[in-house]
C-alpha cells in the first residue's frame, strides 16, 4: 500500500534521509528503529506530506501523497502533541475526529470501550481539557484517536515513550489486537528494541538517513537487533580510545 521510490530529503548540504526503494504491504505491523537523527521522524513527516521531499516520491494506495489528498481518508497518525487540540476535552476531541471520519456516535462509544483499561479511568469523564492532562495521558488520547474509523494505515511516532510500564504492556496487546481485528497496518517507531522485536512483523533500521536493515520477524532475534547497535557503539568508540591509551 505504501511505495517509496528514490526518496530523499536534503537541507542545504546535509542529506537527512535517502531511501531508494521500499514497499510496505497491507495489514502488517512494521517497526522503525534508529538512533536520534537517523531520519525516523523525517520519514514519517514525508509520509504525511508535512514536509516536501527533495527527490522522489511516496505513493499511498498508488497515489502520490504530495499531489492528492485522497490518502487522508485512509491514513491516520499520532506524531506528537501537535496532533492534539489542547482546549478540547478528550471526548470532544474523539467526536471531532469521528465526525471527520464519518463514524457515528454509537460506533465511537463502542470503539472506545476497547481502550477502557488502557485509559485507566484517567481520560474519559474527567471534564479536563487535553492540555491539562499529563504527557502520558495525552499520548493515550492521541493513539486512541488515530485508530478511530479503522484507517488502513496508522503511523505512531514513539508510542511507548512517556507511558508507564503497565500502559506499555497494554499498548502492545492493544496494537496487536487492533491489527488483527481491523486489519490496519501499523507503522511504529521506537527506541525500545524489546517492544519492537516483540510486536513487529517487520523491522526497518535506519542509520544516518539510510535504510540499513529490512528484516521480517524471526529473521532477526532481539539479541541480533541489539548487537547491531552494539557494533555501532564499538565503531564510534574505537577512535577516541587511542589518545586515551597514549596517556599510559
Amino acid at each position: 500500500m505504501i511505495n517509496v521510490s528514490n526518496l530523499s530529503k536534503t537541507y542545504k548540504d546535509t542529506t537527512v534521509l535517502s531511501i531508494e526503494s521500499l514497499q510496505l504491504s497491507k495489514g502488517e505491523i512494521i517497526g522503525l528503529v534508529g538512533n536520534n537523527g537517523a531520519g525516523k521522524t523525517t520519514f514519517f513527516s514525508l509520509l504525511l506530506d508535512l514536509i516536501k521531499p527533495s527527490t522522489g516520491y511516496i505513493e499511498n494506495n498508488e497515489i502520490k501523497v504530495n499531489e492528492s489528498e485522497v490518502w487522508k481518508s485512509t491514513t491516520a497518525a499520532f506524531i506528537d502533541e501537535s496532533f492534539l487540540i489542547g482546549y478540547l476535552t478528550p471526548e470532544e476531541y474523539f467526536s471531532f475526529i469521528a465526525g471527520l471520519r464519518s463514524v457515528s456516535k454509537v460506533d465511537l462509544e463502542l470503539f472506545l470501550e476497547r481502550f477502557g483499561t488502557f485509559f485507566n479511568e484517567e481520560i474519559l469523564g474527567k471534564n479536563k481539557y487535553i492540555r491539562d492532562l499529563s504527557k502520558g495521558n495525552q499520548k493515550k488520547v492521541g493513539i486512541a484517536a488515530a485508530f478511530i474509523g479503522a484507517p488502513e494505515l496508522v503511523i505512531l511516532d514513539e508510542p511507548f515513550a512517556n507511558l508507564d510500564p503497565r500502559a506499555q504492556m497494554q499498548l502492545q496487546n492493544l496494537l496487536r489486537q487492533i491489527n488483527q481485528d481491523l486489519g490496519c497496518s501499523i507503522f511504529v517507531s521506537s527506541h525500545d528494541l524489546l517492544h519492537v522485536s516483540e510486536l513487529c512483523q517487520r523491522i526497518l533500521i535506519l542509520n544516518k538517513g539510510e535504510l540499513v536493515k529490512d528484516v521480517t520477524k524471526g529473521e532477526l532475534s532481539l539479541d541480533e537487533l541489539r548487537s547491531f547497535f552494539m557494533e555501532e557503539i564499538a565503531v564510534t568508540e574505537e577512535e577516541p580510545s587511542t589518545p586515551l591509551s597514549a596517556d599510559e
Binding site: S73, I85, Y87, E92, F96, N127
Partner: protein, 488 residues
C-alpha cells in the same frame, strides 16, 4: 548578570521565526513608529499655539485641564496594545541567577517600550515651548518630570491590571464615562483634576511623593511577578473548569459544523482568543472620535467611512488577521485529517461574518448621531461582510506567527493577542475602499461615492468563489513553510 540576560534577549529577538520572515512587516513597524513619533512631536510643539489660537483659555491651564484624559487614554491603550515583558523564565529558574535579577530585568526592559519613550517626544518639546513662552524653567521641568512619572505609574499599573479584565473594565468605564458626561455637559471631571495638575506646577516638591508612588507601583509590579516565579504559580498550567458547548446545535451543519464548534471552543476557552473578541468589541466605540467632531482632521467623509469600517470590523481585524495562526499548535493535525482548505476557511469565514453582523447590530446606537452618520457604519459593514472578510483570510496565509494559546512557559506571557502589528496589517484592507470612496467623492459627490462602495461590495460578493479558490491555492503553496514556522 544583566548583561547576560540582555544578550539572551537579543538572541531571542533576532532568532525568532517572525523576525526572519517578515521583512516588510519590520519596515512597516518602523514607519508606524516614525508616524507616531511625528504625531507626538507635532502635538508637543503645536499644542500650546493651537490652544492659544482657539482662544479657549490660558494654554497652560487648558493643558493641565485635559491632561487627565491624556493619562486616562494612555492606560487604556497600554492595556489594549502594550506587550507584557516576555522573558522565557523557566530555563533560568534552575540556574545560578537570583530570581529578583530576572524580574528586575524584565521590568526595566519595559522602559524601552515604545509606550514609554514615545511620550518624551510630547513632553520635552512641550516643556521647551512653555519655557520659551515665559514659564519659569525649573518648575516647568519638574512639572514635566512629574507627568512622566505619572505615565510610568500607568505603565506599572498596567502590569498589575493586565491580569484582571475586571479592573480594566472599571478603568475603561471611568475614562469613557467621564468623557461622555463631559461631552454632554453633565459633569466635568477636569475642573477637579485641573487643580491637581496645576499643583504639580505650583508646588514643585510634589514630585517627591509622586516619585515615591512610582517606586511603590514598581515594587508592587515587581513582587507580583516575583510571586509568579514558581512552577506551580505563574509558570503553572492552570486547570480550568471546562466550559461545555452543545454538540447538537452544530451537528446539523455537517463537517463545517464540526470545525465551527472547535472554533467556538477556541474563542471561549483561550484567553488570547477571547481578548481578540474583546478588542473587536472595543472598536465599536472607535467611531466616537470621528462622529463627534472630537478630532478636527477626521471631519471629512472619507474618514467617516474609515471609522465605519473599523467600527464594524473590529473582530474581523483582530481575529481574522491571525487565521490560520490560531490553529498553529495543531496545524499538523489539520493537515493530515480529511478536511479540505475550503471547509477550514469556510468555518473561519462564517465566524467572521457572524461577529461582523453582531457588531453591526450593536453599533446601531450610532443612530443617535443621525442617519447620515449611521450610513457610514452601514457602508463599512457591507464592505466588511463582502470583501474584507475574504481578504483578511488571504493576509493570514502570510502572517505565520505562532500563537501560543496557553503560553504556559512564559510567566509574563504575552497576553495581548491584539497589538500594533495587527493594526498595521489592517492598512491594505482599508486603503482600497478609502481610495474608491475618496475618488468618487471628489469627482461626483458623496452620493455617488456611497453607491460606488455598495457596487464594489456586490462585485466582491460575486467574486467570492474565485477569491476563495485563489486563497486556497496560496494556502496550499504556503503549507510547508507555514508548518515549518509553527514548528519552531
Amino acid at each position: 548578570m544583566l548583561k547576560t540576560l540582555f544578550s539572551l534577549e537579543l538572541k531571542s529577538l533576532f532568532r525568532s521565526p517572525t523576525w526572519k520572515q517578515n521583512l516588510w512587516m519590520r519596515i512597516l513597524i518602523v514607519f508606524a513608529i516614525l508616524y507616531f513619533v511625528l504625531i507626538f512631536l507635532s502635538l508637543g510643539v503645536g499644542a500650546y499655539y493651537i490652544i492659544e489660537k482657539a482662544d479657549i483659555g490660558e494654554p497652560f491651564e487648558v493643558i493641565n485641564r485635559y491632561l487627565i484624559y491624556y493619562l486616562g487614554f494612555d492606560i487604556v491603550f497600554r492595556y489594549m496594545m502594550q506587550p507584557m515583558p516576555v522573558t522565557n523564565v523557566q530555563p533560568l529558574l534552575y540556574q545560578n541567577i537570583k530570581k529578583a535579577t530576572v524580574v528586575h530585568f524584565s521590568m526595566l526592559k519595559m522602559l524601552y517600550s515604545f509606550f514609554n519613550w514615545s511620550h518624551l517626544f510630547f513632553l520635552i518639546p512641550l516643556s521647551i515651548i512653555l519655557v520659551v513662552e515665559g514659564q519659569p524653567s525649573g518648575t516647568t521641568w519638574l512639572w514635566s518630570l512629574s507627568i512622566y512619572l505619572l505615565l510610568l505609574i500607568n505603565n506599572y499599573l498596567n502590569v498589575l491590571v493586565n491580569q484582571k479584565n475586571a479592573v480594566f473594565a472599571v478603568v475603561a468605564t471611568l475614562v469613557l464615562g467621564s468623557s461622555g458626561l463631559q461631552y454632554f455637559g453633565v459633569f466635568d471631571i477636569t475642573t477637579y483634576t485641573q487643580v491637581f495638575f496645576n499643583a504639580l506646577f505650583e508646588r514643585s516638591w510634589l514630585v517627591v511623593p509622586i516619585l515615591m508612588i512610582t517606586l511603590i507601583t514598581y515594587y508592587a509590579a515587581f513582587s507580583h511577578f516575583r510571586s509568579l516565579m514558581y512552577l506551580d504559580a505563574g509558570l503553572a498550567k492552570k486547570n480550568e473548569r471546562t466550559i461545555s458547548i452543545s454538540e447538537n446545535y452544530f451537528s446539523r451543519y455537517g463537517k463545517l459544523g464540526l470545525i465551527l464548534r472547535n472554533d467556538v471552543a477556541l474563542i471561549l476557552r483561550n484567553k488570547r482568543a477571547r481578548q481578540a473578541v474583546f478588542a473587536g468589541f472595543f472598536f465599536i466605540f472607535y467611531g466616537l472620535l470621528f462622529f463627534t467632531g472630537a478630532v478636527e482632521a477626521y471631519e471629512s467623509d472619507t474618514w467617516k467611512l474609515f471609522a465605519g469600517i473599523f467600527v464594524t470590523g473590529g473582530f474581523l481585524f483582530s481575529f481574522g488577521q491571525y487565521v490560520p495562526s490560531w490553529d498553529s499548535q495543531y496545524y499538523p493535525l489539520l493537515m493530515t485529517q480529511n478536511i479540505t482548505y475550503l471547509e477550514y476557511l469556510k468555518s473561519k469565514y462564517t465566524l467572521i461574518q457572524v461577529f461582523t453582523l453582531a457588531t453591526t447590530i450593536l453599533s446601531s446606537w450610532y443612530l443617535i448621531f443621525g442617519l447620515e452618520i449611521f450610513s457610514y457604519v452601514l457602508l463599512g459593514a457591507i464592505y466588511n461582510l463582502t470583501i474584507n472578510s475574504v481578504i483578511v483570510l488571504w493576509g493570514g496565509a502570510y502572517v505565520r506567527t505562532k500563537i501560543d494559546l496557553t503560553s504556559s512557559k512564559k510567566a509574563f506571557g504575552d497576553k495581548n493577542a491584539f497589538n500594533y502589528r495587527t493594526l498595521l496589517l489592517t492598512l491594505p484592507k482599508i486603503a482600497l475602499p478609502l481610495a474608491i470612496y475618496g475618488g468618487f467623492n471628489y469627482a461626483l459627490g458623496p452620493l455617488a461615492a456611497k453607491i460606488s462602495i455598495v457596487v464594489v461590495s456586490i462585485i466582491g460578493y460575486f467574486l467570492k468563489p474565485f477569491l476563495f479558490k485563489t486563497i486556497i491555492s496560496i494556502y496550499q503553496k504556503e503549507k510547508y513553510e507555514t508548518l515549518k514556522a509553527y514548528r519552531s
